[in-house]
């Protein structure tokens, strides 16, 4: 299970990590009951502060996605993700890829595309995660 953190992006690292874990669970790469790397190991592997990992894990535990078993680390929670949900996510991915391709054909760079998404997301609805 390897994650990729983009340190220059303006999105907090712990959010990136939570999204990637959530994505891995949704796409079925992480099954319920699977163990996640320890805080120290993941921090050293990604070369990020352990607090980033701690924050990501506690965020996901708060949402019930992960279970923290004392002493042995974080595990994916018991609820089996419905099959439908993972297909829906996969379709959404294809639509997203189409949009991005068209934007790139129109000459937008990756950076601008990311800023467009952000501005759009940012202004649509004040995100609860202040």
């Amino acid at each position: 299970m390897n994650f990729r953190i983009n340190t220059t992006s303006t999105q907090p690292l712990y959010l990136q990590l939570t999204q990637q874990i959530r994505h891995a669970i949704d796409t079925g790469v992480l099954q319920p009951g699977d163990g996640l790397p320890g805080i120290r190991t993941l921090a050293e592997q990604l070369v990020v502060s352990p607090n980033t990992v701690v924050k990501a894990y506690s965020e996901l535990e708060h949402e019930g996605v992960l279970e923290m078993r004392h002493g042995s680390g974080a595990f994916v929670a018991g609820r089996k993700p419905s099959k439908v949900k993972s297909d829906r996510v996969r379709q959404a991915q294809e639509r997203m890829r189409a949009v991005v391709d068209r934007l790139q054909d129109d000459g937008f760079s990756e950076e601008e595309i990311q800023r467009l998404f952000e501005a759009e997301l940012f202004f649509r609805a004040p995100t609860p995660r202040r």
């Binding site: 907090p12 690292l13 050293e44 070369v47 607090n51």
Partner: protein
């Protein structure tokens, strides 16, 4: 936000003749986190660190490291038992071999970790029988790092640790700092490599002309800091922006550029209220914040 500050200064000041290298600094560094210490050359970073470690005496004001007063020689010495420090100049004793340097340093601390010492010796490929004066600059830096990392201190202070290291060694260094933080060591390091700070630091403190101009968490910078480009059709009116929320304001012609630290929506409404015709917000990277805060006082 835990309340036990590892480093806490109170109106700390250091004056060299007429120049005020550090002026009334109220620095707060928390336990259990990695704090980046930024600032231009001569902003007062090294002077501050030297005062924290009792190397130079504050002109006025005081501070505490690990709860010990920094301007009391005996208390400062007690604090240094649990502090590991890598100086800006990575020089150690030219006339000692690597092995002698390790034996010498180990004798002062009871938190020495021989296993980490052995691992770093292998990882850094340090020739233990060679004299320090015969080491290359990179090797000297790695030795200085080993002498600090082969311990379990409560606080690790590093003054530009990655200076003079190749990319692979820098990656190893950052990993060691992360590992130290995972062992409940507070890490406080000054660096000019913004990318390093952006990657492993939880919190950032920035000095400019001896004053604290930034004290924020990286998550806050990424999430809440926004650059507002406000355009007016006419002369921009005087608007009293809330001082605590604003990092800097710059007016050029009918354009006002504000670095907002928080409450961005409120500011946008206030801008439109003041007759702004266009307000553009964009996220801001640590580098942009640094350039903004540093040139702000230029």
């Amino acid at each position: 936000m835990n309340d036990s500050w590892i480093i806490e200064t109170d109106a700390l000041t250091k004056r060299y003749g007429a120049v005020e290298a550090v002026s009334t600094l109220d620095l707060r560094v928390g336990a259990g986190r990695i704090t980046g210490f930024l600032g231009r050359n001569g902003a007062g970073k090294s002077s501050t660190i030297k005062m924290l470690l009792g190397m130079s005496h504050p002109t006025s004001g005081t501070g505490r490291v690990l709860g010990h007063r920094i301007d009391d020689a005996r208390a400062n010495r007690e604090a240094r038992r649990h502090v590991a420090y890598v100086a800006e100049d990575k020089q150690t004793y030219a006339y000692m071999t690597v092995r002698q340097m390790i034996a010498f340093t180990r004798s002062f601390y009871d938190d020495w970790r021989p296993d980490v010492e052995a691992r770093l010796l292998r990882q850094y490929e340090l020739p233990i029988h060679r004299k320090v004066k015969a080491l290359s600059k990179g090797m000297r830096t790695k030795l200085a790092l080993l002498l600090a990392l082969a311990r379990r201190p409560r606080l690790l202070i590093l003054d530009e640790p990655s200076e003079g290291l190749d990319p692979v060694s820098i990656e190893q260094l950052l990993q060691s700092l992360v590992a130290a933080a995972a062992d409940e060591t507070a890490v406080f390091f000054s660096s000019h490599q913004i990318a390093e700070v952006e990657r492993i630091a939880d919190h950032v403190c920035m000095l400019d002309r001896g004053r604290l101009v930034l004290d924020a968490s990286l998550d806050a910078i990424r999430q809440d800091f926004r650059l507002l480009e406000i355009g007016f059709a006419h002369e921009p009116p005087r608007v009293d922006w809330p001082a605590t929320d604003v990092g800097s304001i710059r007016t050029t012609g009918r354009q006002v550029r504000i670095l907002a630290k928080c409450n961005v929506d409120a500011m946008i409404e206030r801008a439109y209220g003041a007759g702004a015709v266009s307000v553009e917000t964009s996220a801001v990277s640590l580098r942009e914040v640094f350039l903004d805060q540093a040139t702000e006082q230029a």
